[in-house]
Symmetry: C2
Subunit: 502 residues, 2 copies
């Protein structure tokens, strides 16, 4: 278990201070950590961006961000004033050496004032092209040179393919120790995702069933209601496989499929996850098209709002072959999972948002009831609802022995009155405390790329081959059904509490 | 599965028509079956008792009974009139031959009027001493002589010990075929009890865990808030072991511990249950006192009402050694259950009413979390709530990996709007349809007696040895704790929804 460290003064530097991530996620998360007394007594937040900015106006923007996006609603004036007194806007071009010279001076001042070397956290909330530039600036100026106390946080994408990811990891590895590098996949900080390990390994009843003898298939689906919005430029060079499957969905698969580590230590847990990725069957050639379905949305209607087709989106090529939908059937070829398909599904412009993990158990061998007995199903809902539901057969009350599937639910909202911490709160605190458990080690990133590379390669070679289309506001192309039959005919599971009204 | 038989005209005869059972249970159940169209088109209910009675007054009493005790509330006037037109009060002394001669004439008339031999159901809602007398009357007069269509229903107690039970079964066996004899244990007709088989055998995930490898202990507890009330005379010659353990609790144990029958056939299911009883370890001598704790309530307070001590109750001997509380530790010595204790607990004048089956799983072998991980528990609540709850470890929402036991619940009340049929409805319909699945075969009764006889014998030999006392309104004597430690320190489990408020 995580032990609370004696909190050092902490200096948090955010590169990309004017970006959406800072305003929507990072500052609201830091503010919530502050109000919950999770930040050290002494801290400062340096916010760097290249735009000129009046500090007061900038803080006003941050406050507006908290008021709009924080799970706890509007900030209290006194708390905000105390908190924001620690925020400093620094105008600086990441590409200019003086930016880092300036930062160096400020960081040293911070330590001097506190009469001890503090913790330093450098958050790269920037476009990927700045990662190496900023890293080099920090390195050359010896701003992030204490392996024990200085850390960088890098946002995905970690490269755009295996080669670039390796190159990036190599680059960072030359400048920092691996333990200084926190590659963030915010899915791993979600409460419901963190709970999966507790659920699997603190409960004796699940592990005996958690294998190919009892499990028929596993489905991990992340449905998004939104299209590419303003991210068309980035997205068109990326696509759903890179943007979602390579990171979020494969990481969820690791947590579901991993063996129990011998203890709750970051390296053992990350070893166990990498081990899953190493066992994922690699497809090549024809097998790619047989096991992975890609598609692109066309114009349609989501939730009564008309939606453009993907190729009509801003900054997207009208001839784009980039996929906005992927349905993939993976196998983990080890003793535990031999023969159990893992269906990983994601798509944009779908009818609604839902991230759900479904563990479908096999049929009971008992045949003493009528034929319509349904198999057991465990449904872990990550968003929007946080809940664990179990679907089982029960006698319908009445004078005949008729069976029906009913659900047992555990809902966070019902069980706990307080709201659940945002992923970024959990993850930022972990970085401050030096706990890398929920972050991606270099070899996790590499091995995730190894799973998707053959698919990317095959698609690159055949840009339009079996590129299917689905209308915005539908659950994806009919061809995806081919993949999941005969296991299921539901491409995206919903939380049990929604699919089974009481 | 049960198939609906073409419904023959049915003649239902209740011996003991003026008794509580008739008014509180049988007639409300028959009325509910009638209103739900489960009775045959043509039926008559003969109500026999030795008291003179005006039929109109008698029906008034029955109607009052429905209005007070039916799960569906007050009867509708038109329905009651139509239903009660089929009820006939017959004054008759069970000990006089003319009673049966009269009954014979009436039954034959019923068949004549309908121009076919109808089904006949003879319900012995009488004190046990009349069973043989009535059976003999039916037999001699050939009133119940069609093995396929004539049935008798006998209420417990089925004998007062093994010898008397065998004698009674032998007596009935000479006069009727076994398939005509329906020994009723109303616990088996309860919806939640019927559901246990569905739960165990229609869900693949439970059977693999349902054995000594994963289960630590099983607890079956039936707590009663009431004392002996007006039944002191009967109770003082019976006691909790005979009144509750020998029938209800051992039957629940059979359903929990049985193997899956090859098909849903009455004889296979009853075979599987008998097989459990045959494997129950028989105690003798000292082992009785080591494994079975008995006690008697003394004066106290239940739910703010002052309660007499048992020995002060009406018709109870002031020196009585009869137990009103039993806590027994049984073992089913077969491959599946070797080493798993089954704690059967029951008592009167306890703080509240609750019938609950607890399946306690063993500790997880994983030791990756803090030491305070609780083991999984499945809680099947039979009354007052009908629910299945599963207690499991989950991460407490928040920034640390802390675990807590939380509950998933399935509640009948929440899942189904209609009220659940009373046990007597289910059981009476089964008798009418000739389905003996939920009734006790002679060898079930015998084998249940075989389990308790050595205990009764040891107590008889040592009437006051280790007879403990507990104050009315407490959960039993401290000595019972000795028995259940180190497994648990809760003598009577409550439904999960009550013990774990949300």
């Amino acid at each position: 278990m995580k032990e609370k460290k004696t909190p050092l003064p902490a200096l948090i530097t955010i590169f990309g201070a004017k970006g959406d991530l800072t305003r929507r996620k990072l500052v609201p998360a830091l503010y919530n950590l502050y109000t919950a007394n999770h930040l050290p007594q002494t801290f400062a937040i340096f916010c760097i961006d290249y735009l000129a900015n009046n500090e007061k106006d900038f803080k006003g923007e941050l406050l507006a961000g908290i008021n709009e996006f924080s799970r706890n609603g509007k900030a209290q004036q006194k708390q905000w004033e105390d908190f924001s007194a620690n925020i400093f806007y620094i105008q600086g071009d990441f590409q200019k050496p003086e930016t880092f010279a300036d930062l160096k001076g400020r960081t040293e001042n911070f330590d001097k004032q506190n009469k001890q070397r503090g913790a330093r956290l450098f958050y790269f909330a920037t476009a990927p092209r700045f990662i190496e530039i900023i890293a080099e600036g920090l390195y050359k100026n010896k701003i992030c040179n204490s392996p024990a106390q200085h850390r960088i946080v890098v946002e995905k994408p970690f490269g755009t393919d295996l080669a670039s990811a390796k190159k990036l990891n190599f680059f960072l590895g030359k400048r920092f120790e691996e333990k200084q590098v926190y590659r963030i996949d915010h899915y791993l900080g979600k409460e419901a995702v963190q709970n999966i390990m507790a659920f699997r390994f603190a409960n004796y009843v699940f592990e005996p069933l958690w294998n190919n003898k009892f499990i028929d298939y596993i489905q991990i689906s992340v449905a998004e209601e939104v299209g590419v919005e303003k991210r068309g430029g980035y997205y068109d060079s990326s696509g759903a496989l890179r943007d979602m499957i390579q990171n979020h969905l494969l990481q969820l698969m690791c947590i579901v499929a991993m063996d129990c580590p011998a203890s709750y230590k970051a390296e053992l847990i990350r070893d166990a996850k990498v081990n899953v990725l190493k066992h994922v069957r690699r497809y090549s050639g024809r097998d790619v098209f047989k096991n992975v379905v890609r598609a692109q949305y066309t114009a349609g209607t989501v939730d009564d709002r008309p939606m453009k087709g993907y190729r009509q989106e801003e900054q997207v090529s009208p001839k784009s072959a980039t996929e906005t939908f992927v349905a993939a059937k993976f196998f983990v070829d080890n003793k535990r999972w031999k023969g159990v398909p893992f269906f990983l599904m994601t798509g944009k412009s779908l009818p609604r948002q839902a991230s759900v993990i479904t563990i479908q158990f096999k049929d009971s061998p008992n045949r003493i009831f009528k034929d319509d007995v349904e198999s057991n199903r465990l449904v872990i809902s990550i968003q929007p609802e946080l809940e664990i539901g179990f679907l089982f057969e029960s006698k319908v009350p009445g004078l005949e022995m008729n069976l029906k599937s009913v659900a047992m639910d555990f809902s966070y909202q019902q069980a706990y009155s307080q709201s659940v911490p945002e992923a970024y709160e959990a993850l930022l605190l972990d970085v401050l405390e030096g706990d890398p458990t929920l972050f991606m080690r270099a070899d996790q990133v590499d091995n995730a790329w190894k799973v998707v590379m053959p698919i990317l390669d095959a698609w690159k070679k055949n840009p339009l081959k079996q590129l299917y289309f689905y209308k915005a506001g539908t659950w994806g192309p009919g061809e995806a059904m081919r993949l999941i039959k005969p296991y299921t005919d539901v491409l995206f599971q919903l939380p049990l509490s929604e699919s089974h009204g009481s």
